[in-house]
Structures are given as structure tokens and as C-alpha cells.
Symmetry: C2
Subunit: 484 residues, 2 copies
């Protein structure tokens, strides 16, 4: 950075603009820590107040987040989908919604114990059994397994999934299914195909962050539905429906992300009654259904639906093969072909080899045994996390005891530091989590999730979980100014 | 179907509405052949004129396509993206744009020799070498290969692709690359992220059908650029730019789909000059670059670009691993992060296992040898197709002699039957192709592609190609009424 000391522009402004330009060009990528004001002042040969002023301006304009005594970090404002829709305010101190990408990266750093990403434990993925299935298919089918697949999916896999669904009480013909590149794509497909600018979609609050990302900037209004510890409150729907005329309701009735809530049977039936009475389309995300730990959840909405109001999506990313990108949709007949066409314009088809190998794996009857092993390990990990939280968290913190799924939902003391402030300390101390505000739509609730953390309790063995939670407690203490 | 003979509604109307309802409910799926009028009249105990009237009404309303003497077929009107944008007219006798899905299905029927799909020959895919790479990676990396990958892609694969691109004259850092689920997804990503309703995009005419599908109903105006046998004519651009202020130009300079045109070097440089002078963003689809048969094509636009106006996309679907769904993007720095965020909302990441296995395959240096074998076989197949066409096609037909890529572009005599009419006869006789109108934007040219066929010359061994082209010639003769 070279300053024009003879020019008429103030030095602080020149510094500010040089840094802003570096951020906009990508020279200073998001989450870069800027040099301390004292250091930069010395390097540039200017007064420290000049640098502080420049930093304050950058923070006011949303380029950086400044935390007194902890340094300043580059925010991802250019690409933040929170920033995209006009008229919506970014959360007070954190605009990086694609922090998700950052979290995936953190999860791979060996020095960080990450509870952040929404993925299952790597060490429990059945790589040996899947390798056998892959090789059987490669030998049996030859080069065909490398070819493009059908848009709808590999027919025998459709049949296998229909059988799996039948065991879950969902009666579908294979022809009603549509294989997608992960459940994530199924959601994007439904939301982008069925919703148009000006439409309203009802969601749980908090909800799955990716869905907010898909909808950001689409012109679709996001309307939260009142929820309690059992999920969406059906009684709140009729008023909302009358007021917003929503196009659909997106929800995860079983082991919700991030709260872990599981809707009881009676409430599921009430919800379906409301949907039928008001002709409300429901998009059910059932991706955590297999991951129950105490008792099997009630039947899915789709299993209980008698009036064809439920689009059902599930997949194998949260319990078996995250990287294979295999999910699926069950849609009412009149929507199936529309969604299949839209699928083709997204990426033609899911991986043919993975579809065939998964079908082989399922046919060999390995899935049930894998789930039994997974549940047993996840129970131990859940216990380790609950015990560690009880031992380490400050007074005033509260957390859920999940009956399944991947997440523990933790609320920090509301009079202490926010989750995003704690996050920066946590990275320094070698632990990561998903800040709660990612699960709240922007603008609907100014402080939504500001003191919440989503902790994936499945990712590490018990001893590592205990270490990570201790680091987290220390990060909170640092952020609260209790120790340095 | 039960008719109310005592009611006041005419019988033909009851028949029409029963069939329309069956089509709308999916009971009669697209391309279903309706019973002959004579047969249905006998079954229902009505006069044949009653059924003919019902069929005529259905055809007039776009439910079915009626071909005198050949029967009536259900059209896919509900889901046709051609029908979506208001104000655009569907092609006269064929509205099923998602005929693409149908073509994929046809390609798997053993009784049909299909030249239709845009995929490489199955029999030449290197399944043995790839199986070795898969197993090496599974043994080396363990369960990690089944986990979610990074949104940007598997870092060593990014490095390997950067090296491959360097050999093609394209200098990129691995960090500038973004792996996508096939080149198809790369195109969808760019088009959906950078274009907004009201924007105009310039395209070649004819162009890649999927791009028209991605844009259909998006509110983006599609403006064809004048082309000749060497592709886009740069001199035509300034006027168009002044008139339409396009957001970008999408093109395939090398072995274009469907024409096979390859733009000469001088024209590439002229095009880049225009892009730089008018600040026009260019989306270059280079997916056929490796498939040259006579001489290597000129450097890509991206290799020649000195002003950062080219977004480059390529992948492995047309020459190596169609079903693995691995493509990639090279975007100017200021767009990379935006596209990466959008990628995450589409399907998180491409298959991690395939990315690692592909990296292993490339690292083992197998790709070059595979391409040599592919070119040798494709040359034979091209020759078989050109010779068969010369022997069998009617006077007045004309076709290209492709220097690479996958396609031969055939024009039927303009005073004879249309390509879609021939298509129906062809299916009966056991041969399939891609009707040319799929490559033309609706509304811009009423008869665009009406007598064109896209023939993939790579899919079958020479003897099968010869048989298929003979069947095609017979289908044309039938459609022309020359023999029955």
C-alpha cells in the first residue's frame, strides 16, 4: 500500500479505499484477519488513530467485522446471499452466509475439532462394503456404468427405494420417484420449479440454512410458522394461510435441522388435516428419519397423507453416502414430469455408477445393519456431548437432548457474547460450530439465533467431543472477557 | 370410458374430455399412441366421425399430434418448456421439448439404433482403467472418499485440471476453477446466476438444446447471432450489441452442437476483439475440444483472451466419464465466489469418489492414450455414417462432414416430410435421431430446424451405423408416402 501524502485526500480514506479494493478484488479473501491497527500504523508510518478510523469506516460499510481487542476480519459481503435481496438487513455482526463453505473447509483442518457441518461421521461410513458393491457392479455391467443415466434415475434403484419406502409405510410406484443429486438438489428443484417471484413459502423457524440460501434473491417471500419443541404448530397455519396464501410449506417433521424436534403423531395428523382443508402443498424433508436413537419416529407425513398434498424428499447423504450425491423425490403425479424436466436442465442425472452400486448395496441387505451400528455409535457420541455440555457450559446456557438426527441446539446466555463473537474465539482455540443465525431468515427476527449454536454431535469419538466442548467453553469465557 | 348417451353434452365432447383428463392426470403419458379412430369408434359403439371430431379437437388444443394415416400421439404439453414463456409459439407439429428424456430412453431399447443422444460411445468408455483408479483411491483414502466434498472441488483434481488446461494454452490457478456436476450444471449455474429476467443472451443458431431449456421460462430473451459454416460471424455482433445490450454470448467455437462447426483462429481473435471493445461477457463451451478427428482445433477463446471476458467450461462427459458428472468452470476472479455460492445451493458438490478417481486416472497419464483410441474408432464411425448417408439419402438431402465432436447435421429435402414426421416413422422402423428444431429457440424462426436431424455418429460400430441409416432412409420414404 503506497500513500499519497501530498494529495488532498485524507490518509485514513486512502487506507480505507486500498483495503476495500483488496477485499473487492479477492486479494483479501473472507475471514482474513487484518493486521492490528498498531502494526499497520507502524508499517505505514502513520498515526494509529488514522488506521483505527479507516477500520471503523470499513466496518461501518460492511467490509470487515471489528471486535475490540480481538482484531478485524474480512466479511464476505460481495457474495453474501444475505446481502442480495434488497431491503433486507444483514445480521448485525456477520454477513457471511456462505460461511457454510468456510465450515466445510474448517472441518478438514486437523487442528480444529469441528461440530459445524451437517454431515455424518466419516469414520463410520461403510467404505469396505461399498467398495465390494462398486466392484460387483463394475464387473457385472461394464462400461455402461460410466454412461449418462436416465433423468428419472436407474430403474432398479427406483424399485429398491420404493421397497424401502414401503417398509416406512409409504406406498409409491417406482415411476413416481425421481432420483436427484442429493436431497439438497431435490429441495432446490422443488423450490425453484414450483415457486415464482411474489410467491410465499412457509418455513419452520429456525430452518435448514440451505433452503434460505436457495430462496435468497429469488423474489419468494419466506414466512416463518410458529413452532414449539414439537415443531410446527398446526393451529397457527389457517391464519397464516389466509394472510399469505402460501404456495407451499417446507418442513422437517423428524429430527429437525437445527433443533432436533420430532413432531408427534397427533400433530402430524392435524397438520395434514389443515393441508387438505386449505389445499396447502407440503414439502417434507425426511432426511434424518433413519437416524433415531431412542425410539423410531412416527410415520412420515407422506405415509399418513391421504389427499396427495405432500412432496416427500429423502436420500442417503446423512446416513450412508454423503459424497455419492443420491437423493430422491416422491411428488404427486401432476408434478412429477415437470420436476423431471427441470432436473434435466440442472445436471441431467445423478451418478450412474453410484446409483448402481447403491442398489447393489441395498439389495445385499447391508443398510439395516449399518444403521444399527451407526445408532449405537451415535448414542455414545450424543451422551458424550450432553455430559460435556453439562460439565462445561456457563450458567444460563441451555441445550436440547436430541432423540435422533445429527444436531444438538445450544443457546448461550442471552446477556453474554453472541454466537458469532464466540465463533472467532473458537477458531483460535481449535473448535468450530454452526452459528445459529444461519438457520433464521434475514429480516424476520432481528436477533434470530444470535446466541444459538448448532453442534453436530456425531462427528467425533467421545474423547474428542469432550475436548472440543471444553475448548468451546473456553472460547465463550474469552469472548465474555472472563479470561484471556 | 363411459359415455352419457342421455345427457345434453355431445358425445365427441365427452370423448375429448375423457382423453384430455387422462393426459392431464398422466394416465396417458407423452408419446402414447392413441387407438385408431376406427377401433375406438367400434369399442365405444359410436360413429367414427364422432371420434375423428374428438381427436381433431384434441389436436387443435395441443393435447395430441395427429398425423394422417400414422395415428395420433400424446404430446407433452403440460411440461413442455416450449409452451412456458407466454407469447411464444410451439413448433407446428411437435411441442415435446423434453423429448430429450424420451431419447435417452430410446437409446437403451435394444430394438432401436439410436443416433439421438449427445453422449459418447458406451463401448469405448475405459471401464477397466477407471476401475483400477477407483480401487486405488478407495484403498488409499478410506471412508473419506464417501464424505461430502468441498464446494469448489477436490483440490488435487483442481491442480490436475489446471495442468491439463495449461497444455491447452489456458493459464489458470487451481483456485480459479470450480468443479461442477457435469458441464451441463456449469452452464445452468452461469446462466441462472448471471442472467436475470429482462436480460438478453446471445446464442448461436442452432445451439445446444439444453441451454434453451435452462433459459425457457426464465424471462431471459434469447437472441440468435448470424452464423455460417465457421460459426458466429463477429461482424454481426456490434449491431446486435447496440440493439439488445446482451448480458453474455454463449457459444461452442469448437465442433459445435449440433452443426459441428469449428471457428478458425482469425475469427476467434476477431470475436475477442469485439468482446473487449464492447465489454461483452462470453461463455465458451469447449466440451468437444478433445474430440478432433482430422487436426487439432485452434486454441480456445479462453486461451486467446487477454482481457478476461471469457468464462470457460469443459468437462469429462463427452469423452471419458459421462455418468460421473464431472465438469468445471474457469471464471473471471470477480465471478468465482458468486458462482461457488450458487453451486452450493444447487447440490453442494460433485461426487467426491469420482473426483478422486478421475484425479488418479489423470495422474496415471491414461487420458491421452484413451483419446488416441477414441479418435481412431470415431474416424471409422464417421466414415461409416458419411458413406451410408451418401448411399441412402434422397436427392436434395445435405449433411456436414464433421471434423470432430459427436454430430453429423443432416438436412432433409425441404419439399419433403419434416424431421418430426420422419421421427415417428423412424421409431417404428427401429432408428432414432434428435429432431433439429430442438436446437432452435422457439419463436425466432417459425420453421427452424423443421427439416434438420442431428445424428451422433460415434455411438455404434460401422455395420450398425449402416443398418441404422438404411432404416432412416426407409422412414423418410414412408413419411414421404413413397412406400408403406
Amino acid at each position: 500500500m503506497t500513500l499519497d501524502r501530498a494529495g488532498r485526500r485524507p490518509l485514513y480514506e486512502q487506507i480505507k479505499e486500498a483495503i476495500a479494493a483488496a477485499i473487492e478484488s479477492g486479494g483479501l479473501p473472507p475471514l482474513t484477519k487484518l493486521p492490528p491497527t498498531r502494526t499497520l500504523a507502524r508499517q505505514l508510518g502513520v498515526d494509529r488513530v488514522t488506521v483505527v478510523t479507516a477500520y471503523n469506516e470499513l466496518a461501518a460499510e460492511g467490509y470487515i467485522s471489528a471486535h475490540v481487542g480481538r482484531g478485524s476480519f474480512v466479511l464476505d459481503r460481495a457474495t453474501s446471499s444475505w446481502a442480495a435481496p434488497p431491503g433486507l438487513r444483514a445480521p448485525a455482526d456477520w454477513t457471511a452466509h456462505n460461511l457454510n463453505r468456510e465450515m466445510m473447509r474448517m472441518a478438514r483442518r486437523p487442528d480444529i475439532i469441528s461440530f459445524a457441518p451437517g454431515m455424518p461421521a466419516t469414520d463410520l461410513l461403510p467404505v469396505d462394503a461399498y467398495r465390494l458393491a462398486l466392484n460387483r457392479v463394475l464387473r457385472r455391467d461394464g462400461p455402461e456404468v460410466l454412461q449418462y443415466g436416465l433423468v428419472e434415475g436407474y430403474p432398479p434403484l427406483l424399485t429398491a427405494i420404493a421397497a424401502e419406502l414401503a417398509a416406512m409405510g409409504i406406498e409409491v410406484e417406482p415411476g413416481q420417484l425421481l432420483i436427484t443429486s442429493g436431497t439438497e438438489q431435490a429441495l432446490a428443484l422443488v423450490l425453484r420449479t414450483l415457486l415464482h417471484p411474489g410467491d410465499t413459502v412457509l418455513i419452520e423457524q429456525p430452518t435448514y440454512a440451505l433452503v434460505l440460501d436457495v430462496l435468497a434473491g429469488s423474489g419468494v417471500a419466506v414466512q416463518p410458522v410458529p413452532c414449539d419443541e414439537n415443531g410446527v404448530i398446526p393451529g397457527a397455519l389457517p391464519d397464516l394461510i389466509a394472510r399469505c396464501q402460501p404456495r407451499l410449506l417446507y418442513l422437517t417433521p423428524t429430527f429437525q435441522n437445527p433443533t432436533g424436534a420430532c413432531m408427534p403423531l397427533a400433530r402430524r395428523q392435524q397438520l395434514l388435516d389443515v393441508a387438505a382443508r386449505h389445499d396447502l402443498l407440503v414439502l417434507e424433508d425426511d432426511v434424518y428419519a433413519h437416524l433415531w436413537l431412542d425410539a423410531a419416529p412416527p410415520p412420515s407425513l407422506r405415509a399418513l397423507d391421504r389427499t396427495d398434498h405432500v412432496i416427500y424428499t429423502n436420500g442417503y447423504s446423512k446416513c450412508l453416502l454423503p459424497g455419492a450425491r443420491i437423493g430422491y423425490l416422491v411428488a404427486p403425479a401432476h408434478l412429477h414430469s415437470l420436476l423431471a424436466t427441470a432436473h434435466q436442465t440442472l445436471d441431467v442425472s445423478a451418478s450412474e455408477l453410484h446409483q448402481r452400486a447403491l442398489e447393489m448395496y441395498l439389495r445385499e441387505g447391508r443398510f439395516a445393519g449399518h444403521l444399527v451400528r451407526l445408532r449405537s455409535a451415535y448414542r455414545q457420541r450424543r451422551q458424550a456431548m450432553l455430559e460435556s455440555l453439562a460439565a462445561a457450559m456457563p450458567a444460563g446456557a441451555a441445550w436440547t437432548r436430541p432423540g435422533g438426527g445429527l444436531y444438538c441446539w445450544l443457546q448461550l446466555p442471552l446477556d453474554g457474547p453472541s454466537a458469532t463473537t464466540v465463533y472467532l474465539h473458537a477458531l483460535d482455540l481449535g473448535v468450530a460450530f454452526a452459528p445459529g443465525h444461519l438457520s433464521f431468515p434475514p429480516g424476520t427476527l432481528e436477533t434470530g439465533g444470535s446466541h444459538h449454536l448448532r453442534l453436530n454431535f456425531t462427528l467425533h469419538p467421545p474423547a474428542t467431543i469432550a475436548t472440543g466442548i471444553l475448548r468451546l467453553a473456553r472460547a465463550w469465557q474469552q469472548a465474555a472477557g472472563l479470561r484471556g
